[in-house]
C-alpha cells in the first residue's frame, strides 16, 4: 500500500513560507499532478516527501508510516529529476544498477530488473553507453529506468519533460501515462505546465504561493474552479476575466461592464442577486465566445461589439484577440470566419457557461452547469 498523506505540513526557508499548512491525501495508484506557477511550492512539496528537505510543522505519511524523520533512502520512493541527474562516469547499466547494488541486491536480481526496465523503455541497446553519448530523450528514459528498477512505493517526478523539445514532450507524455497504467504505482508529478497536468493526471492539485488552491479531477477543475486563480490557471488559452457590476433585479439581471452589458441567464440570477449594485469578476472561457454565424446550437447568446486586434490561425480555429473599450479578451472561433485585424464585429458570449468570482476573496460565486 502506498497511500501518501500530508497533514498540515508547513515548510519555511527563513522568512519565506514555501509550503503553508498543506493537507493532502493521495490514494494508492493515483497519478497526482502538482501544478502551479514558479515559486508556488510544488517542488518543495516533492522534496519534503522525498526527504531531501525536512518539515517545520506537520506530518507526512507513506503507507501507514510516519516518515518525518526517516532518511530519503529508507522512504521507499524513487525520484526522476528535471535534469535527469545521471551519473556521468557510469554506463547506463550501472546508472540503473547503482541503487540496487548499494542495497546489496544479488547480482542476478539486479541483472533481471535492469534488463526488464530497459526492455519496457526501449533502451536495451544503450546499456553500455555513457550518458554523454545519449540524446535528451534517451537520458530521460535512463532516469526513468533508474527509478523503475527500485520498484518503489511511489514515483516522484520533478518537471521531467521540461528539458525536452515540444514534439518529444508530447510523445513522452503519452508514454508516461501508459507507464503509469502498466506499473500501477502511485505517481506524484510536479509541473508548471497545465497541459501536462490536464492530459496525464487522475487528479490535479493546484498550488499558488505555498497554498493548495484546489484538488480534483482535471475536468472538475476545468468546469468548476473554486477560485479565480484556478480559473485563470487551468485551461489554455486562459479564461477571460472582466470586472463588472451586477445590476437589475429579480426579473432582469445583467452584468454591466461599462462598454458592454450581458444579461444573466435565469439559472444564475439567484446566486448573483446578493451582489446587486456591487462589483464582481465575470469569467468566460475563449471557447464560449462565438461569431453569430457559426455559434453552436443551444448557445444562450449575449451579443457584444468588439474590434479585432490580432488574429492567430491555429489551423482548425482562429484565436481572435478582441478589444471592447479598454477591455482585451480572447475568443476561439470557427476557422471559416474570415477575421481581419481592425475589423469591427459582433461576437456572442455563451453566458450559459459564465463564471462569477468575488472580487475580494477570489472565490467562485457561481459555476457553470454541465
Amino acid at each position: 500500500m502506498a497511500e501518501v498523506r500530508f497533514e498540515q505540513v508547513t515548510k519555511r526557508f527563513g522568512d519565506v513560507t514555501a509550503v503553508n499548512n498543506l493537507s493532502l491525501e493521495i490514494p494508492d495508484k493515483e497519478f497526482l499532478v502538482l501544478v502551479g506557477p514558479s515559486g508556488c511550492g510544488k517542488s518543495t512539496i516533492l522534496r519534503l516527501l522525498s526527504g531531501l528537505e525536512e518539515v517545520n510543522e506537520g506530518n507526512i505519511y507513506i503507507g501507514d508510516r510516519l516518515v518525518n524523520n526517516v532518511p530519503p533512502k529508507d522512504r521507499d520512493i524513487a525520484m526522476v529529476f528535471q535534469s535527469y541527474a545521471l551519473y556521468p562516469h557510469m554506463s547506463v547499466y550501472n546508472n540503473m544498477a547503482f541503487g540496487l547494488s548499494l542495497r546489496k541486491t544479488p547480482k542476478a536480481e539486479i541483472e533481471r530488473r535492469v534488463r526488464e526496465a530497459a526492455r519496457v523503455l526501449g533502451i536495451e541497446d544503450l546499456l553500455k553507453r555513457k550518458p554523454r553519448q545519449l540524446s535528451g530523450g534517451q537520458r530521460q528514459r535512463v532516469a526513468l529506468g533508474r527509478a523503475i528498477v527500485r520498484e518503489p512505493a511511489a514515483f516522484l517526478f520533478d518537471e521531467p519533460l521540461s528539458n525536452l523539445d515540444a514534439k518529444l514532450r508530447v510523445q513522452t507524455r503519452a508514454e508516461l501515462s501508459k507507464l503509469h497504467q502498466r506499473l500501477g504505482t502511485t505517481f506524484i508529478y510536479v509541473t508548471h505546465d497545465q497541459i501536462e497536468a490536464m492530459t496525464m493526471a487522475s487528479r490535479i492539485a493546484v498550488m499558488n504561493d505555498g497554498v493548495l488552491q484546489q484538488v480534483g479531477q482535471p475536468q472538475e477543475l476545468y468546469e468548476r474552479p473554486d477560485n479565480l486563480f484556478v480559473a485563470g490557471f487551468i485551461g489554455s488559452p486562459a479564461m477571460n476575466l472582466f470586472e463588472v457590476t451586477v445590476r437589475g433585479d429579480q426579473n432582469q439581471t445583467y452584468l454591466d461592464a461599462d462598454s458592454f452589458r450581458v444579461a444573466v441567464p435565469s439559472t444564475k440570477v439567484a446566486m448573483l442577486l446578493p451582489y446587486s449594485g456591487k462589483k464582481i469578476i465575470f469569467g468566460l472561457r475563449p471557447e464560449h465566445i462565438h461569431v453569430p454565424e457559426f455559434m453552436p446550437p443551444g448557445t444562450i447568446a449575449a451579443p457584444v461589439q468588439a474590434r479585432v486586434d490580432v488574429t492567430e490561425l491555429m489551423g482548425h480555429e482562429y484565436y481572435l484577440y478582441l478589444l471592447n473599450g479598454e477591455k482585451h479578451f480572447l475568443a476561439r472561433v470557427d476557422a471559416r470566419t474570415m477575421p481581419r485585424p481592425g475589423q469591427d464585429i459582433e461576437v456572442v458570449f455563451n453566458i450559459a457557461h459564465m463564471y462569477a468570482f468575488d472580487p475580494v476573496t477570489g472565490k467562485a460565486i457561481t459555476t457553470t452547469d454541465g
Binding site: 522525498s50 530519503p72 525520484m79 551519473y87 547503482f98
Partner: protein
C-alpha cells in the same frame, strides 16, 4: 557546365580565405613564437652547458658549442650521478614528494566535500579562515612549525616534513577543490542519496571519480611545489642523509666552488621527473587552470 566552372572558383575562394586568415594571424604567431623562444633560451643555454666540460664552459659562451668541432660530453652527468649521493637524494625527493602530494590532496578533498556539501555551524567562517591562510608567507611560519614538530618529537623525520607540506598545501587545495565540488550538480548528489548512498559512498563513488581533472591538476601543482622546495626541507630535515635533491644541489655549490657545469646537469636531472609528470598530466593541468575561470 556552370557547376564545373563554379568548382575552381570555389576552391580558389577557399584558398584565398585561408591565406588571408593565415596572414592576419601572422603577427600574433610571430609574437607568440618570439616570446616562447625568449623564454626557452636561458634553459636551453643551461642544457647546452651541461653537456660541455669545465674548460669550455669557463672560456666561451654556450652558443659557441654549436660550431665545429663539437665537444659535447656526458662527464658532467656522470660526475653528478655517481658522486655526492645524488641517487640517495633522488630517492629522498621521492619519499618526501609523493606522500607530500597525496596526503594534502586527500585531506583537502575530505575537507572540501564538507565545505561544499555539508551543513554545519560556522562552515562558511571556517572556510574563509582556511583560505585566508593563503596570505601567510611560508617564512613566517618556519620557526613556529619547527618548534611544534620538536615538541612532538618528530622534527627531522620524514613524517614531519609530510605534515609540514600538508599544512602549507591545504589552503590552496581546499579552495580549489571546494569550488570544483560545489560546481557539481546538486541533483546528482541528491539522486545518489535517494538511491541509498551514504555521504562516504557519495564521496568515493561519485565525487572523486568526477573530480579527476581537478585532483590531477592539484597533484601537479602540489608535486611541483614540494619537489622544488628547498626552504622547508632545509629547516625541517636536518639530517643530510634525508636531504632531497634541492638541498644536495645547493651543497654542490659550496663543495665544488664555482663548478657550475655540474650545477646545470644536476638541475636538469632534478627537473626530469616533474617534466615527465607534467607532460603526462598536461591536459588536466590546463583544465585545472580553467576550472575556476569558466562556469565557477
Amino acid at each position: 557546365m556552370i557547376a564545373e566552372l563554379a568548382k575552381p572558383q570555389a576552391s580558389f575562394q577557399g584558398f584565398v580565405s585561408r591565406l588571408s586568415k593565415f596572414v592576419s594571424r601572422l603577427p600574433l604567431h610571430v609574437v607568440l613564437v618570439g616570446i616562447a623562444l625568449l623564454w626557452i633560451t636561458p634553459a636551453f643555454g643551461l642544457l647546452t652547458s651541461s653537456f660541455r666540460d669545465a674548460a669550455a664552459v669557463a672560456s666561451s659562451g654556450w652558443w659557441t658549442a654549436f660550431q665545429l668541432p663539437f665537444e659535447f660530453t656526458l662527464d658532467n652527468y656522470q660526475a653528478v650521478l655517481t658522486q655526492n649521493r645524488m641517487g640517495v637524494s633522488f630517492l629522498n625527493s621521492l619519499i618526501i614528494s609523493i606522500p607530500g602530494t597525496v596526503i594534502p590532496i586527500l585531506v583537502a578533498a575530505f575537507a572540501a566535500f564538507a565545505f561544499a556539501w555539508m551543513r554545519f555551524p560556522g562552515r562558511d567562517t571556517l572556510f574563509i579562515f582556511v583560505v585566508a591562510l593563503l596570505v601567510v608567507p611560508v617564512q613566517m611560519t618556519l620557526i613556529p612549525v619547527l618548534r611544534l614538530l620538536t615538541n612532538l618529537q618528530i622534527a627531522g623525520s620524514f613524517p614531519a616534513i609530510w605534515l609540514a607540506h600538508t599544512g602549507y598545501g591545504l589552503p590552496f587545495a581546499v579552495f580549489l577543490l571546494r569550488n570544483f565540488f560545489g560546481a557539481l550538480p546538486r541533483e546528482l548528489l541528491e539522486s545518489a542519496y535517494l538511491d541509498g548512498a551514504s555521504s562516504v559512498r557519495v564521496f568515493f563513488r561519485l565525487i572523486l571519480p568526477l573530480s579527476v581533472p581537478a585532483l590531477a591538476s592539484l597533484a601537479i601543482f602540489q608535486f611541483l611545489w614540494v619537489w622544488n622546495d628547498l626552504l622547508v626541507a632545509l629547516v625541517i630535515l636536518q639530517d643530510p642523509g634525508k636531504a632531497p635533491m634541492t638541498v644536495t644541489i645547493t651543497n654542490l655549490v659550496s663543495s665544488f666552488g664555482a663548478q657550475w657545469q655540474l650545477l646545470t646537469s644536476a638541475a636538469f636531472i632534478s627537473m626530469m621527473l616533474p617534466l615527465v609528470i607534467f607532460f603526462a598530466l598536461q591536459r588536466y593541468f590546463v583544465q585545472g587552470i580553467l576550472t575556476g575561470a569558466v562556469k565557477g
